[in-house]
């Protein structure tokens, strides 16, 4: 059952990547692009977790955790930049 | 006590966090976790002067239950709206007047609002009396404000700022 579901899940997550990427290119405003980037981070976590289940390896977990943290910090820094024109005051 | 263990709750959560991070339960990691759980709040206590007091644990537990159900409900609701198509959405900004005053309660309320059905908190007014909330689809903004206040704000106020149950 799981073996049949995993390819479908891969396809869905890949489509999610494609759509987030389309929004990243199209914009039209800076917040849209940041939101698209943020969604791409979360999609990457989904992909890594799927890969971990598929290959039966727990090694991808650390990467997922790091991407979650870096993604959040990146989003906050970009938002701060939009709000104040400066990141560190 | 206050000086040497500034935030007991924070210390306990740090121990749990450490055990989750190393993903094993052994005496060695328990000791290391306890050491970190003591050292980090101690070193950071100057950045976090106020003490957190939880007044009605029962109310907090019930709130967490409601919150968990609403996250799932909210996701299904938004998923359905997205699948139905953008043409029929009626997005509105509503203003929620705040009764809670502490930083912690306000930020928890804002985060709760963002994760529950159809709403994202957008802006806290300069005087910290109003929270501006964007809803994706509503036909009755006043009812929505009343629901937010009664469903999320009232329990948070009880737990973190006192008041009758």
């Amino acid at each position: 059952m799981l073996a049949t579901v995993i390819p479908i899940a891969y396809a869905l997550v890949t489509l999610a990547f494609a759509m987030s990427f389309w929004r990243l290119i199209k914009g039209p405003d800076a917040p849209d692009r940041i939101l698209a980037l943020d969604t791409l981070y979360v999609n990457t976590i989904a992909l890594l977790v799927l890969l971990g289940i598929h290959l039966g390896s727990a090694i991808y977990f650390e990467a997922a955790l790091l991407i979650a943290m870096m993604g959040f910090v990146g989003t906050v820094a970009l938002c701060k930049y939009l709000l104040r024109g400066d990141i560190i005051e | 006590m206050r000086r040497w263990l500034p935030h007991p709750l924070l210390s306990v959560s740090l121990v749990v966090l450490w055990l989750l991070l190393v993903n094993e339960l052994s005496t060695g990691h328990l000791v290391l976790g306890a050491l970190l759980g003591w050292l980090i709040p101690f070193a950071a206590s100057r950045f976090w002067p106020e003490q957190i007091r939880i007044r009605h644990p029962g109310v907090l537990l019930r709130f967490l239950g409601v919150f968990a159900v609403d996250i799932v409900r909210g996701s299904f609701h938004v998923a359905w709206l997205i699948l139905k198509g953008p043409a029929r959405l009626r997005p509105v900004f509503v203003e929620v007047p705040l009764d809670v005053e502490s930083d912690l309660a306000i930020s928890l309320l804002a985060n709760t609002i963002s994760l529950t059905p159809g709403t994202v908190s957008a802006l806290l007014s300069g005087d910290r009396r109003t929270l501006i909330v964007h809803t994706i689809d509503t036909d009755d903004p006043a009812a929505l404000v009343a629901e937010i206040k009664q469903r999320y704000e009232a329990p948070l106020k009880q737990v973190f700022e006192g008041g009758d149950a």
Binding site: A9, A16, M19, I53, A68 | L115, S121, I132
Partner: protein, 112 residues
Amino acid sequence: MTDTLLAVLVLTGAIFTFIGSLGLARLRDFNTRLHGPTKATTLGVGCLLIASALFFSLRDDGVSLHEVLVTLFLFITAPVSAHLLAKAALHLKVRSLAPTPRAGDAQTTDRG
């Protein structure tokens, strides 16, 4: 039995991840787009992470709970990023389908 449960969790997770991005691509203004990734995607990845925790707990001896950490982290950070993005959009006066509130002009408190 557990195999079915795992399959259901993985599929639900993938579908919600997909729908979140679909909302991002499909909806018409920034503020409504914000709702898709914050709620649907977060729940989707949450489902996938729970599936992963279950999978590794069943396969190896002992429980594997560190996935809970990522789940918690995502559920704490998603509303914060959404709030900051909404605030930035109000600040930049991004085109919105909903009439923007007047307090949007007189902002900038420092508290995120």
